[in-house]
Symmetry: none
DNA sequence: TATGAATGAGATTTCATTCAT
DNA sequence: TATGAATGAAATCTCATTCAT
């Protein structure tokens, strides 16, 4: 009632980058990097083509911004989960860790993973950022968790300390499956990850009185 | 009769399609699908642009042909390995199966995986072909192997029968690592896969007299 | 009455148009007309883009204003120099006239000349203004001077009355040289102009008692 | 009659660059560098936009090619004229040299001069080329001619040896006039140049028996 | 008066595909 | 069969100008 005429311009600078990045993620997810038209992102974001270039100097910058924006919180979540847990190792793996993987497979990070795999080799600086801020932070957090378990006598020492990748490998499978095949053939990734965690617990966790202090 | 597709008595440079597909794989590997120029493939193959279109009607057809050409022998190798092995399960896993994964990570299949992840969603028919001829054949072979082990009393029944993906998940990690990070930070994927197999053997293989007949 | 355009009692930063025009000249000089961004002029002038459009309705208007602003005083200077001189012709040519040309070559007029040559054909009204207010006033002043000399018996009558352009042609050469080549190869334009004047004096000035009244 | 259907493609590679450069010159002449659209050049040349980029990688390359193409023959003409003349100096100046300047003012070089003045500062390599291949060759040829005259006792030594620019300065005036004002106000550049040459001959050429050997 | 976020028309450039030879 | 000159649709990016505040 107050605004009877729709203004041709809307001024709301603070929201714009967010708004554009969200739209961009969706377009990139659907069409990949090269397949995405800046014009379509603009339309999806409800802004003009020109405005895109006010906030992101090139399509490539936009892409990188999207990747960073999506992955950063995911990694924060992982590190935080690992750092603040005081649960016994088996409960931790079956609980928060499993949940993290299950959510990861479903989250927007999945499509960003696809984008990284597809475009990473063309963007060395983005790949470097990914290594520093996603991969190494992620693996670092996992390794920290495992080593704590080993020190506490909860976990068998061994390969998993050297290659924490093995712990999340099935999440990667899950994501790739979702990307490529989910439309064709369902896979219960939640269950698969649960079974994976069971196997890991069986293999890694030392039986016996585990109620010792964990901290 | 053995050679039905190649017209035997026409004069033309033999294996032109082969030649082109090989060049195309290298270009796709380096630049991705969209980043690859048909002209560059032609140059690399040593033929004219026009001739490409004699053998492959579009760039997309060429892409699909490349994917099929690379993956088919890989799958044949896996199925054959699994089918013809008469080794006890632990020896099989530590031997031919580990070797297969290690080679897989290094092979041209790696770059095709990248291409599939990047482009799959845009080519449903290719994805369908991949599911039928790569994924399901691959998982089928693995499942077959596992079930034989279970029947023989060599393997514990359980999750791995349902989700043979868990067995090759680290190979996927290895491939993705090679694609994205190998230039930045080395990972000894061979060793990682070996450790993975050890974990799997510990978890899955039933101890005790294993020298019973396998077949 | 003296000051009709500037409203005397309104509060605003004085000389905004001046300020903008000065900034514009520098930008136009560096990047040419098309290569100059209105936003950059605004920034250089320390005002907002929007404000520019309060004082100059379009980029083109701004351009024309700059041209006029720079050239007008130069022409005033020339006419005034010529009109007020009471020197014998040889002294005048070697003195004030030479100085004028030497300064001209160095002045901001040089870059405006470049702009006129580049953009003139696209702006007929500007070109017309230039003809009326620069070219014809300039040539007029020179011709007046020459004719006075002829009447006084100081100068040989002839071509130079018809084509006073010949008298300042080397200044044009000097300006073009400064515009294009000075960064690559120095030319002592001062000396060149001095030599030109010497040649002119030799050719044009009638020897003999020249101390007669001049005026 | 032979070709009843107009083919959509015409294959005539050898002509193309020429054809495009000619069209480009006309467009650049009319609209300047920035004001010229590649599409319009293409249309004028009767080829597709895409083909432009087959022969000239960028608009800038096209521009440079045009400049070089137009100026090179002009300079060849000047050097050749100067080198091969066996005329006495006054006849040479009043004859071939005057003719050269008169033609120069009318030729396509005129518009290229405009382009150079306008765009030179933005293209240092083109400017360097211009200096090496136009300016210095041109001035060199003039200086050579003058020094020959001085050695022969035909010309007074002096400023003109140091600054041969003074000899062609009026041609520059003529060209600039043609560019900017000819549509508004005629100037008989031919006559102006003729008068200029007369002045130069009067000033520079030594009277007396000039029938001495010239060579 | 003053700002600068927002617009949108238009420019250059790329490249898969066609087709005259 | 073989070539590569030629096409044209489309994509990215720029920037003068407008207008809500």
């Amino acid at each position: 009632m107050a605004d009877t005429t729709t203004p041709r311009f809307e001024r709301r600078k603070p929201d714009r980058p967010e708004q554009i990045a969200d739209a961009a993620l969706l377009e990139f997810a659907e069409h990949g990097y090269a397949g995405t038209r800046v014009a379509d992102v603009a339309q999806r974001a409800g802004v003009s083509k020109g405005l895109m270039y006010v906030y992101f100097r090139t399509k490539e910058e936009l892409f990188k911004a999207v990747v960073r924006k999506v992955l950063t919180p995911k990694l924060d979540q992982l590190t935080s989960t690992v750092r603040h847990s005081t649960l016994p190792m088996d409960q931790f793996l079956r609980g928060p860790f499993l949940t993290f993987m299950q959510e990861l497979v479903r989250s927007r990070a999945r499509v960003v993973l696809r984008l990284m795999i597809a475009e990473g080799p063309k963007h060395p600086d983005l790949t470097q950022w990914y290594m520093d801020n996603v991969l190494n932070r992620g693996l670092g957090a996992l390794r920290e968790m495992i080593q704590r378990g080993v020190r506490n006598g909860e976990l068998r020492p061994g390969a998993i300390e050297t290659y924490p990748q093995l712990l999340i490998a099935p999440a990667l499978i899950g994501m790739v499956w979702m990307i490529l095949f989910q439309r064709h053939e369902k896979l219960d990734t939640d269950h698969m990850l649960q079974e994976h965690v069971e196997l890991m617990v069986q293999t890694l966790v030392i039986d016996g009185p585990r109620q010792q202090v964990l901290l």
